[in-house]
Chain length 218, copies 2
DNA sequence: GGAGTCAGTGAACAGTCGTACTCTGAAAAT
DNA sequence: ATTTTCAGAGTACGACTGTTCACTGACTCC
């Protein structure tokens, strides 16, 4: 019988396992190419199933790409939450955030490579999925910033602008770290150093944002 | 005879013409896909030459991509020079710069699409070529900023950091405008508005950069 | 325990791909 | 005027592509 809906059963368990295999194999293959040139057969071959079997999981490569977005950004969810919950003085927060990103990029390069590459890649549905997820992240950050005492009196639009800058800054930092590679420790140090300074500059700017009369129509 | 080295002659003139045709056809094809999935035959077919004829101009798609980087960023050279030579008060400079970018993106979407997409794309030589060109642009901007009276006393490294932020900001603005499409005037207006605010925030930050003791080792 | 579901197989389809080869004909060099 | 150069055509090659189809066999449900 096994009326427990939580228990997947050997059938669906195996299906989920190959589905996961398809996705992780794709991530590996995508380190050297981009999604729009990834072949359906190529992926199927990598996991050892026939090309037709691929269709049992995804109706095509674009759909697999969208699924990869969900998984990838889901896996970064804890990283994001950690960054959002960051407290303490600004300098520490910046240093900790950059270090967190650097560590995650070093540990899971494929995830970030996929996101950074396909964010502007040639597959529209995937591009949209990534944009949606990043917008969601940006919204969460906006709410965190709204609770910040230093940002009291900010207009909601400006808060969103600031959050967007932080998000884009993190993505660009990840991209730069990926380009350097994990072995180039000197370049990695240079990138994280610059990333900290950029965040610091944004922070300084936000501290004096209300000093000048910000035109509400500009 | 025609010993004038400047005169191309009908022979080389025709070769240059088909070479140019190959490149512009590629740019069109690349609006819907990325370079790593662009086919040699596909390009040859688009300009009406045989696949073998392609090799008379490029030894492969990656080489064509690198040539595209040169042409694309060469074509943006005047835009960049205009931005660099910008004078006047900050607010005007920001508004003018953003407007310049928006106009160029609307007029030559394919150029920017190619740069934005392949900047993080799957073809390493092209990625490196774009990075080199953008670094060059960043260096030029650094020198312009060094002459700025408001930035007197800045360390060279901080100037490079600031220039890099401006450059990345422009690239991201172009990317956002491309994603919106030229018809969505409301979204376009929203993007340029946000872009102006971002530049303004960076500017405010740079005005107060030296206020706080900037740790030289952070 | 018998019927149905369904992940995965294997073969076949019509294409496309990159590359290599010889050949042509007009421009260039002598 | 004759020879050389060379952009491009044409052909052929083997390999790879996405998609469809009927099929198998282990699981699920009643």
């Amino acid at each position: 019988m096994s009326h427990t809906p939580g228990a997947p059963g050997p059938r669906q368990a195996q299906k989920l396992r190959t589905r996961q295999a398809l996705m992780s194999a794709s991530l590996e293959l995508l380190e050297q190419q981009s999604l729009s040139s990834l072949g359906l057969r190529e992926v199927a071959r990598a996991v050892g199933i026939s090309p037709a079997g691929f269709y049992r999981h995804f109706c095509g490569i674009p759909e697999l790409g969208v699924a990869l977005v969900e998984e990838t950004l889901g896996s970064l969810r804890t990283l994001i939450a950690t960054i959002l919950a960051e407290t303490g003085d600004t300098e520490r927060r910046i240093a900790h955030t950059v270090e967190l990103i650097a560590r995650h990029v070093a540990e899971q390069p494929a995830y970030f490579r996929f996101l950074v590459r396909e964010r502007t890649g040639g597959v529209a549905p995937v591009r949209r999925a990534i944009a949606t997820q990043l917008d969601l992240f940006s919204e969460e950050l906006t709410e965190v910033l709204a609770a910040e005492s230093e940002l009291r009196g900010w207009q909601p639009e400006d808060l969103r602008m600031l959050a967007g800058m932080y998000v884009d800054q993190m993505v660009m930092t990840a991209a730069a770290l990926l380009e350097a590679g994990p072995d180039d420790t000197a370049e990695t140090a240079r990138i994280t150093r610059t990333a900290r300074r950029r965040l610091r500059l944004i922070n300084v700017g936000s501290e004096h944002w209300l000093d000048e009369g910000q035109p509400s129509s500009a």
